[in-house]
Amino acid sequence: MKEIERLKDISKGRDDLEQLLNNTLDIIKACEDLESVTKARISILGKKGTVAGIFKKIPEFPYKDRPLLGEFGNLLKKVAEQELDSKEKQIRAAIREKKLAGLAIDVTLPGRGKPLGRRHILNMTIREIVSIFLSLGYRVIHGPEVELDYYNFEALNTPTYHPARSLQDTFYFKRDDPVKDSRDDVLLRTHTSPVQVRVMESTKPPLYVISPGKAYRRDEIDATHSAVFHQVEGFAVDRGITMGDLKGTLEVFAKKLFGEEKSVRFRPHFFPFTEPSAEVDVSCFACDTAGCSLCKGVGWLEIMGCGMIDPNVFSYVGYDPEEYQGFAFGMGVERIAMMKHGIDDMRLFYENDVRFLRQFHV
């Protein structure tokens, strides 16, 4: 600050001025709050203050000294104002800071309000599966859980004594009136596939349908079996649909669901209502086809069954198998959720311990 230098220059050798300057600066320096700044301002710049005192005293000095004293007084006033303003600013800033510091909270304390709930992991899994097929142009159609033998077996090319029926043990309903025709037997559907027949019966192709829901088998409940379980059924019927389309569709699906890095393979299999039929495997999550305990050394995990819709099924619903072709697939939701999340006991899904359910998220 050149004003300070000049003041020091002027007061050099003059003890009275030097003392005046130092006192003034010391007073300002010693201010700690706004009150002391105001006091200092009055004592330095006020009517009876230091600066006024200098000007009052000028006439008592010889002429030659008067301009220098005048300059000293003016400069001192300027410097004091500046110093006081800056001091005041400093103090105000400190006060503000202190005030804000008092508002500080512990942001790591828990948030207010009650936590959100959860959809059941099986329904979250269904939603994930369905959304992939929605993006491929499928629509969602639900079917009844109580079914007629006709839709559950016969129209799916599984006649009464077909060996496939020995694979599925079925819950039947008691009824008072005896059934004349076994096709009218009422049962809990053993798979979601009857939806295929119901939809085809009432709708003309093209059809691209996905149908999630519960299915039932007379299995004793244990870690890997459940009398109630969930499936997602899907099928497409159109002109010119080929087995290549089936493979392409399910490859897209499996990679979206399990990860693009997974490999997918189609293994020939048997289902009464598709031909050719296949089971779909994805490369094992743990070992990527090398073979480990998760995949029982196979290197692959089975995720679903599929195939080209058997012409016999078309003949039940009145489609011309020379005009239309189609494919169908079905997967177990529990199995997929278990694979994805490493769940080792199917009963956990139905026990509904909220701590189990709440650990999953979208």
Partner: protein, 809 residues
């Protein structure tokens, strides 16, 4: 089914690791579940003949055998019951190494007699589980031969899953045929040639088929003067490896052929067949048979039977009878090689709950053309291994001969279905390797073999071609699609959104079994004629807990709550959406509807550092139902005082949408809670949501909400305690007051400061206009109208003064 790779190589040549052949089979539809590597390391074990037996001088439990090891005689101590002079067995020489034994076999002194080696049991040789006898070696083997040359110790067993349409694959030869097609190599069928040296079969046995439907073909062969012995070790090993137990040479041969060709055979002791006649007929009421497993079985008139003139001697296709079993005493044998009706065997096996190697093959359909060949093969092995004489001729009653079918296979159809072109030459070759007869060039005429009953149509052949050619060679494409209605319906959106809003309000979704026990409704005090009693009952439930399908979700969700409470989680907010099922009135039609059940107990929120704990109550339940339905656009949701047997009277409400009662909400009766081992106040609601499908699909039309500030006025009234607040609110809304934008009930008070039997309700009323700012005076006029209505309707008395209302009131 288990298949030995060593055995497979008898019929088809391949040089692939077990893992590789397993993968090839799996990728063609014969799924390999497991590969069991067998590799019993043996050295220093030779074939030896027992020349002499002496009693052990110091114990009666052991014997001393003098055996010939091909070079010299050795003295061996052994206690096996089947030890006899002249037999060939396996001898571990001193220094021999056998896998499973820690150290080499040494000369040891047993009860004072030095044993110069050790005779081995089938178990020690890794052939079967039999550890109590010593291995018997049959066939043309000389002492001194190394045991590795007699029995293959290195093998891999494939455990296969055979799909129900492929009975032909329940045989080693069937799997070999698959490999022959997959690797495009030749299949060698086992030989069955022999000289017939015995008497004419017709002098030994007669066959009569009474049930031609159940038994379309019956082939019999007879072998006389057999020597019942253990079968050779290689045969024992193969049978054991495939999961059967070696018994004696004759029985083992029938099992061997069952495994090899998939044709179940049965051997009867000819001497024990009364009247020298076999009759195939249905069982008669009251007949019984003791089967080979020692169980006496009651037969019914559905069961197909093999009988002699006096008694049942076998359950056809399932299991033989003890009374004609081949034993050590048997001299003459009748071999049965029949074709039984698959359905008949399937039903018998299901009805009686017995599944055997034979029945599991017959029920899927055996080869009708294969019976005579299998009988010949059995006879030739019996001659070879049991030194029998094969009777002249065979009896073959073939009442319904198999007809060859010709199937047209269009070359173009193959590519239309699979989406790829396969060379015609490849197609033909695949079908021929699988045993079909093929004619033509582009479009083919294909005759499927008799063992492939599953090949009936063009599509069946296309599958075969795709399967053998390889699914992996089919190029991935996407279907044409496009231009079709897709997505989810409005009802599906409403339902999912409804559930998501419940989640947003803190509720966790549960899924319970769809079953119910009828007694749950008794616990819930549901009266006899109630709609919840229209329960569809199952014919074949797994347990009492699952005797019916549910008419209500409530018991299920209460049990979930109980599990959680028992684990210390007392504050619960749960919901389930699921189907409920009702019998439709008089008829037996079962209706199913989507229902939504909600459960609340304990604190509204977990204990918090900032908020007071609060127990949930009825109004939490009501509020979240209101929120959720409002969110999906349900307008006229109402709660009315209702009465439900399982709810606390006075804390229960009917839930209505318009005039439709959709369900209930309220506090559950404490006694009912206790019956489910639950304590504390529990609030439940259950509502049908099937009506969401009928909700009109309206699009909201914009309404001007106004820019001008409104006038807010509070009033408090005194009315009789019994008057429901909801009625007062409706009356205010219906009062005709102009500009009334919002009414909010903000205080309810009963107590000291007001008269007995009265309550005070305080409302905040907001008046506003969309066109201008209302004056307070205008609002006062409308409030006056409202108060007048309340006075008239309910005898309401205004409490205190409405601010600014002045003397006018």
């Amino acid at each position: 089914m288990k298949v030995s790779i060593e055995w497979l190589r008898d019929y088809v040549n391949f040089d692939l690791e077990p893992k590789k052949i397993a993968e090839i089979l799996s990728m063609s539809g014969t799924s390999v579940e497991r590969i069991i590597e067998q590799n019993v390391g043996v050295s220093g074990v030779v074939v030896a003949r027992v020349v002499h037996l002496f009693p052990h001088p110091n114990t009666s439990n052991l014997k001393v055998a003098k055996v010939d090891d091909g070079e010299r005689l050795r003295e061996i101590v052994c206690g096996a019951p089947n030890l006899r002079e002249g037999m060939l067995t396996a001898l571990a020489l001193p220094g021999a190494r056998i896998q499973g034994f820690g150290s080499p076999i040494e000369c040891a002194s047993i009860r004072g007699v030095k044993s110069d080696g050790m005779l081995l049991s089938p178990s020690e040789l890794g052939l079967s589980e039999d550890a109590s006898t010593i291995a018997e070696i049959a066939g043309k083997v000389s002492p001194g031969e190394r045991i590795e040359n007699v029995v293959p110790f290195k093998d891999a067993i494939l455990e296969l899953e055979i799909t129900p349409n492929r009975p032909d694959c329940m045989a080693i030869v069937g799997i070999a045929r698959e490999i022959s097609a997959l690797l495009d190599v030749d299949l060698k069928m086992p030989v069955a040639t022999f000289e017939e040296t015995g008497p004419d079969i017709n002098n030994l046995i007669a066959i009569e088929i009474q049930d031609k439907q159940g038994c379309p073909r019956y082939t019999a062969r007879a072998v006389t003067d057999v020597r019942i012995l253990p079968s050779p070790l290689w045969m024992q090993r193969r049978i054991s490896a495939c999961g059967l137990r070696p018994i004696n040479n004759v029985v083992d041969i029938t099992n061997y052929i069952l495994l090899e060709l998939g044709q179940p055979l049965h051997a009867f002791d000819l001497q024990l067949i009364s009247g020298r006649k076999i009759i195939v007929r249905k069982a008669r009421y009251g007949e019984t048979i003791t089967t080979l497993d020692g169980i006496e079985r009651q037969l019914d008139s559905q069961t197909l039977l093999i009988a002699d003139i006096e008694k049942p001697i076998a359950m056809a296709g399932v299991m033989g009878g003890e009374n004609t079993e081949v034993t050590a005493a048997t001299r003459n044998v009748v071999i049965e090689s029949a074709h039984f009706d698959a359905t008949s065997i399937f039903l018998t096996s299901k009805r009686l709950g017995i599944r055997t190697e034979a029945s599991s093959r017959f029920e899927r359909g055996t080869d009708p053309e294969g019976t005579a060949y299998a009988a010949r093969r059995a006879a030739s092995l019996m001659k070879q291994l049991a030194q029998g004489d094969i009777a002249k001729g065979e009896i073959d009653i073939y009442s319904r001969p198999w007809q060859e079918r010709e199937i047209k296979l269009r070359g173009k159809k193959i590519s239309v279905v699979l989406g790829i072109d396969i060379p015609a030459e490849k197609t033909r070759r695949v079908l021929e390797r699988l045993g079909a007869r093929v004619e033509g060039n582009d479009d083919l005429m294909v005759a499927a073999p008799s063992y492939r009953g599953d090949l009936e149509r063009e599509i069946d052949l296309i599958e075969e071609i795709a399967r053998i050619y390889g699914y992996d060679k089919i190029e991935d494409t996407l279907p044409p699609g496009g231009g079709i209605a897709s997505g989810i319906t409005r009802t599906q959106i409403l339902t999912e959104t409804l559930l998501d809003t419940l989640v947003a309000q803190g509720l966790t979704e549960v899924i319970t079994y769809s079953f119910m026990r009828v007694s749950d409704l008794d616990i819930m005090r549901v009266p006899p004629e109630h709609v919840l009693r229209r329960i569809p009952v199952l014919l074949n439930p797994l347990s009492e807990a699952g005797e019916a399908v549910r008419t209500t979700l409530l018991p299920g969700i209460l049990r979930v709550a109980q599990i959680n409470q028992s684990r210390g989680i007392r504050s619960l907010a749960l919901f389930e959406k699921g189907r409920v099922f009702y019998l439709d009135g008089e008829s037996s039609v079962i209706n199913e509807k989507d229902s939504l059940c909600i459960f609340l107990s304990g604190n509204v929120a977990p204990p918090s550092w900032i908020e007071e704990d609060r127990q949930c109550d009825f109004f939490d339940m009501k509020g979240l139902i209101e929120n959720s339905f409002e969110f999906i656009g349900v307008r006229d949701l109402r709660f009315e005082k209702g009465s439900f047997p399982w709810l606390l009277e006075g804390r229960s409400a009917s839930v209505l949408v318009g005039s439709r009662e959709i369900g209930y909400a309220g506090q559950i009766l404490p006694e009912i809670g206790e019956s489910f081992d639950l304590d504390g106040e529990i609030y439940v609601a259950e509502m049908l949501i099937d009506w969401l499908a009928d909700m009109p699909g309206e699009t909201v039309q914009y309404r001007d909400v106004g820019r001008f500030p409104g006038v807010k006025l509070d009033i408090a009234i005194l009315i009789d305690k019994s008057i429901e607040a909801g009625r007062v609110l409706s009356a205010i809304l219906d009062s005709g007051a102009k500009h009334l934008r919002n009414v909010r009930l903000f205080d309810v008070y009963e107590g000291e400061r007001i008269p007995e039997g009265k309550k005070s309700l305080a409302f905040s009323l907001e008046f506003a206009s969309v066109r201008r700012t209302l004056t307070e005076d205008e609002a006062f006029l409308e409030v006056k109208k409202i108060i007048r209505v309340l006075q008239e309707k309910f005898g309401a008395v205004l409490r205190g003064k409405t601010p600014g209302a002045g003397e006018n009131l």
